[in-house]
Amino acid sequence: MTEQTSGAEEGGLVFHPMDQFRVTPLFGDGPVGIFTVTNVTLWMGLTVLCIFLLLVLGTSRRALIPNRIQSIGELAYGFIFKMVEDVSGKDGVKYFPLIMTLFMFIVFSNFLGLLPGAFTTTSHIAVTAVLAMGVFLFVTILGFVKHGFGFLSVFWISSAPLVLRPILAIIEIISYFVRPLSHSIRLAGNMMAGHAVIKVFAAFAAIAVISPFSVIAITAIYALEVLVAFIQAYVFAILTCVYLKDALHPHH
């Protein structure tokens, strides 16, 4: 469906599954310049607002016995903190705010995108690619700063037989440079596909006979998308932790 052209017509049905991803100016319609306030601005702003409400206002009482919102905030904190500690090691805890930022941004963008009529910022490759490239450059530079050229030993698998090591090194290098690509496309692709599928089913609801099935299907896909929204944020964060671990401990 990613190849579907918006405006295609099939038997009187109008499919515009990709229109929900359009970046449009919020005020007026001119071209989209770099500083134009667009729906991207709106939904990213809402993401920041939600994170602020949950993690800052929700914890403002600093209660020893937390209320519900504070519990959720603490749960998120503990969840990501433990993940960083387990995956990246004790010295990875220094970069916990970074991972937390990525996770909170993605998870709130994904969930806000599930609101009817919402714009999903994380469904855009421009957003996820920047995040993934940021992570990639960060861990690569961090690796070289921490270990100098010793960081290159991440490609040299010393536990493998000597004959295989050069071949493995080539594979490792390729896979290392593919990381930002898979990292970004996984998130954007998942978000885009789910939302597009919901739209396609919604278009079918125009036919009275099919509409009950359509509603059931949308409900089912929506439930799946709720799951995917969390899982993709989690996957993005845990992969970042894994890359961070490689940068901090390149020796296998």
Binding site: T5, Q20, F35, R62, L64
Partner: protein, 174 residues
Amino acid sequence: MAKTPSDVPVEPGMPQLDFTTFPNQMFWLFVTIVAIYFVLSKIALPRIGAVLSDRQDTIEHDLARAEELKQMAEDAEKAYNKALADARIEANNIINDTKLEMKAELGRKIADADLQIAERAKESEQKLNDIKAKAKSSILDVANEIAIDIVVKVSPGPIDEKLIMKSVSQKVTE
């Protein structure tokens, strides 16, 4: 679907690949990430971390205090049991001592009583002997008198009182 502004020409393809919107998205993403990072690293995360460690401290403190109190309770129980055992031993000692004392006292009293009884018996025997002797002499006197009276009545001539008394005493002692 209805979100498409009707006056914007609908271009085919994915909006994700519309590169003219990339700078805009990247700019706002940068602003957003920086904002979130500062909110989290300056306010939210230190605060939540502090709350969590406070709670951990409180729980540990409470646990330590509970442990202490439990220790105190155990000590008190031990002391109580010890006091109980001591008291029991003490009571046994007192009982034994008292028993021994009573036995000794009893022995002494019995001995005293025996002595007194023996004394009394001796006295009584003495008295009995006296009475016996007295009774004997009384009997002799009475017998003499009677014998003399009888002899005086039956014999015409003078009488030898001494002789009579002698024979009477002879007869009585037999």
